[in-house]
Symmetry: D3
Subunit: 254 residues, 6 copies
């Protein structure tokens, strides 16, 4: 099967038309050659050098990542830099990299849909990359523990009243913690907001509104993409999950 055929299958699930406007040029084939025969796929969150090496070790010439590898436009490709080293390795080893980013966040089998499912919720509304879902009434503190357990995320934090019972949750996978518009939307449409990469001033805004927030790690909220990509294309081609580790360790893990 050709790489372009694998892409066609992925895009049936996550059409590129769903991607945010600014994300559009980075979504799709990021690097490489769509016409080659696919010898196997490694699925991952980020196409890091370690992931590319795993592909080579396993005889796979395609990597499907959630995050685009070239995030900022390139003016040079110096192997002394992180991106340059990975790009060089990819070309030298004939690996083609494909990314499904905000189109995957929003699609029916994507990260947000997965999160809602892991929390036993039912989607009732969406706003860009933010999904609102209904769950059985639960205290915020217990919901935080459920999130931590479902995502195996030891770094979960809670902002606000842990005892308040909530039944409508707003979820945004990845780094939706910095988007004011998402917090606003969540506040108007849900009882609690669950997202990652949240800076200090957002904690204050949530506290000031008396609106509970649960923060997970960006990584933990999207690593299931490895599984989802595998489930989509696993019956067409050899697929290996990168089993990419969390990029940080908490105090107790040191």
């Amino acid at each position: 099967m050709k790489i372009s055929e694998i892409i066609d299958i992925l895009e049936q699930y996550a059409p590129t038309i769903l991607a945010d406007e600014g994300d559009r040029p980075k979504v799709g084939l990021q690097m490489g050659n769509r016409h080659k025969e696919c010898t196997g796929v490694v699925t991952c969150l980020d196409a890091t050098l370690d992931v590319l090496k795993k592909a080579v070790e396993n005889g796979c010439n395609m990597v499907v990542s959630h995050h685009p590898m070239i995030y900022y436009p390139l003016q040079k490709i110096d192997e002394d830099e992180v991106n340059g080293e990975a790009i060089a390795y990819a070309f030298r080893n004939d690996i083609t990299i494909y990314s499904a980013h905000t189109n995957f966040d929003k699609c029916e089998v994507g990260t947000n849909a997965s999160l809602v499912k892991m929390l036993d919720g039912k989607v009732v509304d969406t706003f860009e990359c933010c999904f609102v879902a209904e769950v059985e009434p639960i205290a915020v503190g217990n919901l935080a523990k459920k999130v931590a357990s479902a995502l195996s995320d030891k770094s979960v934090k809670v902002i606000g009243d842990v005892d308040r019972e909530v039944s409508k949750i707003a979820v945004c996978s990845g780094g939706g913690g910095g988007a004011f518009s998402y917090l606003n939307y969540a506040n108007r449409n849900a009882d609690v907001y669950i997202s990652g990469d949240m800076p200090h001033h957002m904690y204050l805004e949530a506290l000031g509104r008396d609106f509970p927030v649960i923060e997970f790690s960006h990584y933990a909220s999207e690593i299931m993409a490895e599984d989802v990509f595998k489930s989509i294309i696993g019956d067409k081609v050899k697929v290996i999950k990168a089993n990419q580790p969390c990029p940080f360790r908490t105090l107790e893990e040191i």
Copy 2:
């Protein structure tokens, strides 16, 4: 003593000329009246409504905060919004709010200088709000535990090799984790970078460079401002620390 005199003393330590250009209009008297007699000061990280109430309860009509209260320019002041509620309360209770932000980050008694001291270091270089210091050789993991202990911060994370011995640290209080230029500077001039509010893609950049990073919480790295402000003006006027709590709770604190 007049409020303006308190301000003069604070600005001897943290001259407003040190503030970043974009920060300039927000640094200094943020709200209120510099000509009133000061009846007492509450020092804090953020001039939240809770802090303002503590000022009133303690007969203080001045709040000295590290973060500017009006962070984004205002077009209306609606009491239904977080900022509006606090501004209204401040005016109704005759509280004047003064902020020392990036000028305080950089000054000799400021947040970064304090962090270096808490880690038993000696400043050898600075770059905007980032300080480089020399410390006794220590493994990154142990340094992370030292940071956690010094700041009473249970949320400390480590990115990269915990066993590597380091002796030159780059520290940026608050949310320096999102500034690529700081990571670059730290990477070129130190063995490890220590800062807060770090989004996922910075973890990857640090891992890709094999450059260790320790992430603390924005709050924990700056809450000592309460003490520093108190030490500067405590002998001139009644000063009460807000003892502002951390805005989030970790899993074990729920």
Copy 3:
């Protein structure tokens, strides 16, 4: 009756959707608390400190102004500054300020509609904040005297031929004298343009086109807002007009 109910009534007459795009964030509740019981309203052109004081003296906790009080976004609220002093006074005295600006200019009972009525005209066309109306044929000089008399405005000026008979007038309340697009529209659709705040180069443009212009004072053309606001809400709540004086004096009034 709650302040929010007074707002609802005003917005039935001047829906915020009518406001210019750039004006949108400043129109509506400008400052204060919509949930309080309304103890009385002072209507005015500008919510100056004098107006706020009148509200307090008369036991009114709401001010309805035509011009938004926060015209330029605020980065600090220093009581040493004009805006800061008024904002502080408003909050200390629990006054809520509501503004209907360009939405009121354009609505059926608004400033432009009022001007046309005062000049015995009949609206036949509109363009943004500019209204075209038909009047009985009249010489430009006499029309200027009629404007001066209707608005009690001693500062009225005439540009161009005073003897020319006109029957189609274009009117723009406030400071429409600086908008080239309004002059153009008036020139194509009317015999004379009537507006305020006109800079020198607009006089030349009008003279060059041989298109007569009558300039009134911004104040005189909008002070009737005090009356209109009163007529709208006067039967629901105590309403006092500010009777705000003209901000300038002509030579003969010194």
Copy 4:
């Protein structure tokens, strides 16, 4: 004498280097041919069609104006438009137009220096196009009458306390009434601000600051340019003043 030689003389008095940056491309030879023999000059405030006709009637082939004729960059020159008609007339009649604008405002014999002199003041400071001068103590109302009389300006207005005695005046010829930075500078450095083209919201700012302002007409404050230009070049070439009339009439002049 060649037109270029007349220009050289004018620029000894008002060097183009003094002009504001944005004004630079419009200052100097605005239209025509610097190499022709000068047959006479008409001096004026604005190079309107009437002024150009006066030049032709008097055998003059040069017009020296204070305001640049091409104020907004041109993309077409249609004789149906005000500017186009004048440009066409100028070329058809071989008239060269020269403008000294902000460089003339600021120079030693320019509009601001002239205004100070007419008010019996002595310049003590300058800021861009704003001059501060000391005068004999005088009440604001009387100063306004003196301005009106010196400039023959019936439209003079006063904002604020007419009885306050002032001795330090800030003057800005033309349309300095709309520049917030000038009001600020005047407020910090003088007792009263005198300028033209002042919109309504500046009246409020001045009233709020309790800072007196006198508003003259833009025209009246700069028409003396006709005389000054004449005095500079009158002994080298035939010079006729346009005696350009005020573009508006007040109520009593109708």
Copy 5:
């Protein structure tokens, strides 16, 4: 016949609504007076001084050019500059200049339609100023010779494989060689791209794509506008072609 009537006829063929958005203000009457009686027209590519002189010598008071005379907005009209000298000459000699630019490129009798016709093609598609047409199969080298011969253009260049047979051509009159979007469109929809003003990096792009390009001179590809304008209005008024020469000479023409 009035000049405005000539304009009406031209705009029936090349409606200004067809012009590119940025081109809109420069298309139409560029300079002069539409109300005069037309004494004759000179048609040309560029309204240079030589062309204007030819108009005068032949008793014509109108010039119809393809390129707008005022290409960059004017801030002064100095006769020492190229544009200023021509504008002055035009007004002194009562010449009105009319331009049909991108509206003429795209219209049914315009430059692109003419080019297609000269190459015996049939238009099948259009994209902005680029026309795709079908021709009898021909080798690229022979097509280049045909272009050179049809346009009498000795400077024609070929990029890529001269022997490849092509039957679908994309043509863009004038300077379409610098527009990446045109090359892209041509590459997707035709076998060869034919245009002018092509910089070096476009040659490389074409070679890299193995997509043949033929470059003609901007002048040669549009000089037929002289004829087309004449054919449109020649029966209404005296029309003389400028017979404007090519602005450059090739080596063999020196």
Copy 6:
């Protein structure tokens, strides 16, 4: 010898500090790995796929080009596109690409200095990438022939008077024909301007000024870079010239 050492030698001749500001990020190591041992260098104008293949065929792992390979920042590297195919080939074959662009244009042994030498001139002034030189008096037509002969450029064009004798020439290698500021500088400081990539409206500007211009091909004016790079590093490492052909053919070369 390491690639980084070759770079050091090149930058002694063409320091990157000389590069234009916008060109800075693209100058220097464009792609690859500076730490490898250099097995040979291919010098060229453009690092096209053909040039990269020549490097491989000749056992060279470094390409030194005048033009940067990544001219527009990249957001993806698709092998279906011209740039993507070349980048992939470079990495797969371990080729490192180094570019010296505007720094090389301006340096003492660079393209402009070379052009002046080929025309037997002596540099007397410089302005950005434009050099002024004195030559023996020569007619413009003959100078054009000399340029054509020196550069073996059959596409040379002449604009203006071929018989005029000139002795001061302004030269700008590459595509300086589109830069208005260069034409201005040349016109004020030299008798003739010599550059490439000249669009039609520049011809008109030159003709209107009666200022002669000679246009060469961008390629022909810079291909000598192959030789210069070789002469700089040829004694340190194996160096092969790409002998890159001209990207276009003239009519007589078809």
